[in-house]
């Protein structure tokens, strides 16, 4: 008996069991794969927060959190940022943006064997770098590309203007309720940082035409984006009358990529 015969002989007695195991394994793999693939979509569609599977959680969450749409789609949308005069400058800082590079790193690093590989502590190295870089950013997010002009990772430009003197200062009005103000007054969750992150997400969705309605009025574009989950509440006198209902949509008023105003609805 040669070596190959002895190998097959050794397998034969447990052949059926092995087959069952294989079928069960395939079914399990399909279920796990399906859940993993569908989880972000379900979360987005329902506003739930289904748990990620353990083991690959870090890698999967990075992808899911950063890409309501597929990663490739997101990249194409960020390339199609408006052709305003400002948009020529923003491209460089956007590529260099630590938030984006951090995202890209987390989205790209896990290869097929990532879950089986043990590294020292990749997260700590990345966060140390990003923390250092974040200190240079306004609100931990915005890069000052020229005096008083700030660019977000998604490509939203915040410049001087408005009755408040600067768009960021105007935006600040939407981080607190104005209960005496007539009508509705949308208030973002999470102070300025929260508002800026939400606006960036809304802008990315708007660019990808996800759950977005768009109106163009001359140079202005008005997007209303359904964020699929709470992003703030409705304040003002009307909001107060309705017990400040939660807001899950964001209205963005833009001129090119320059933010004029944004508020939750």
């Amino acid at each position: 008996m040669n070596a190959s015969e002895s190998r097959s002989g050794a397998h034969r007695p447990s052949g059926k069991k092995g087959k069952k195991t294989t079928v069960a394994g395939i079914v399990l793999a399909v279920v796990v794969g399906g859940y993993t693939l569908l989880r972000p979509s379900i979360n987005e569609a329902t506003g739930w927060n289904l748990p990620a599977l353990p083991g690959k959680q870090v890698a999967k969450d990075s992808v899911a959190d950063n890409s309501p749409s597929p990663v490739s789609e997101k990249k194409s949308s960020s390339r199609s940022v408006p052709k305003q005069t400002e948009s020529a400058k923003p491209l460089t800082p956007r590529v260099e943006s630590p938030t984006r590079s951090e995202r890209d790193e987390s989205a790209q690093s896990p290869g097929p064997l990532a879950s089986k590989m043990t590294r020292g502590d990749p997260q700590s190295g990345t966060s140390a770098v990003s923390n250092a870089d974040k200190s240079d950013l306004e609100y931990g997010l915005l890069r000052e590309i020229s005096p008083d002009r700030f660019l977000s990772p998604a490509g939203v430009l915040y410049t001087p203007g408005s009755a408040e003197g600067h768009r960021l200062e105007h935006l600040r009005r939407h981080t607190e309720d104005q209960p005496n103000r007539s009508g509705k007054h949308g208030v973002f969750d999470g102070d300025m940082e929260g508002a800026l992150v939400t606006i960036d997400k809304a802008y990315e969705k708007a660019q990808a035409n996800q759950r977005t309605t768009k109106e163009v009025d001359g140079k202005r574009t008005i997007y209303t984006v359904d964020m699929g989950k709470r992003v703030g509440f409705v304040g003002g006198r009307d909001g107060q009358r309705s017990r400040n209902p939660m807001a899950r949509r964001v209205r963005l008023v833009l001129e090119g990529n320059r933010l004029i105003t944004a508020f939750p609805l």
């Binding site: 306004e138 609100y139 000052e144 005096p147 001087p160 408005s162 009755a163 209205r251 320059r258 105003t261």
Partner: protein, 127 residues
């Protein structure tokens, strides 16, 4: 949260030279039909002897501008970064103008257009 240093100076310029720019009572003619959240408030422009020579209606959210107190009419937009009065080209928020007082509105002949339910004083919400 402290304001970023880099644009604080820009705000100080506004608040020092034009203390009324965001502290006065605003009298409005309606809610903004464009952004649907702004108040369309009256600005008294071209002040001569503290009296307006013309008025504008400006949305305090999206900054749409109407030359008449009828927000169903034609609107325009000023430059987003350096907004100017479309009539006399002075800076829209810190030029020779202000949020209109009731006297200003009376002089402009726009009193009937004001919706008193929309009158708003931003300072009243400051905590």
């Amino acid at each position: 949260m402290a304001q970023p240093e880099s644009f604080r100076s820009c705000l100080e310029v506004n608040s020092v030279t034009h203390p009324d720019s965001n502290s006065d009572v605003r009298h409005s003619v309606g809610s903004c039909p464009i952004c649907e959240q702004g108040l369309c408030s009256i600005r008294a422009c071209g002040l001569v002897d503290d009296k307006p020579s013309h008025g504008l209606v400006v949305c305090d959210e999206c900054e749409a501008i109407w030359l008449q107190p009828n927000v169903q009419g034609v609107h325009i937009y000023a430059d987003a970064e350096t907004p100017k009065c479309p009539i006399d080209q002075s800076p829209l928020y810190h030029g020779n103008n202000r949020w209109a007082t009731l006297d200003d509105i009376d002089r402009l002949g726009w009193s009937d257009a004001v919706n008193p339910d929309l009158t708003y004083q931003p300072d009243s919400d400051d905590s």
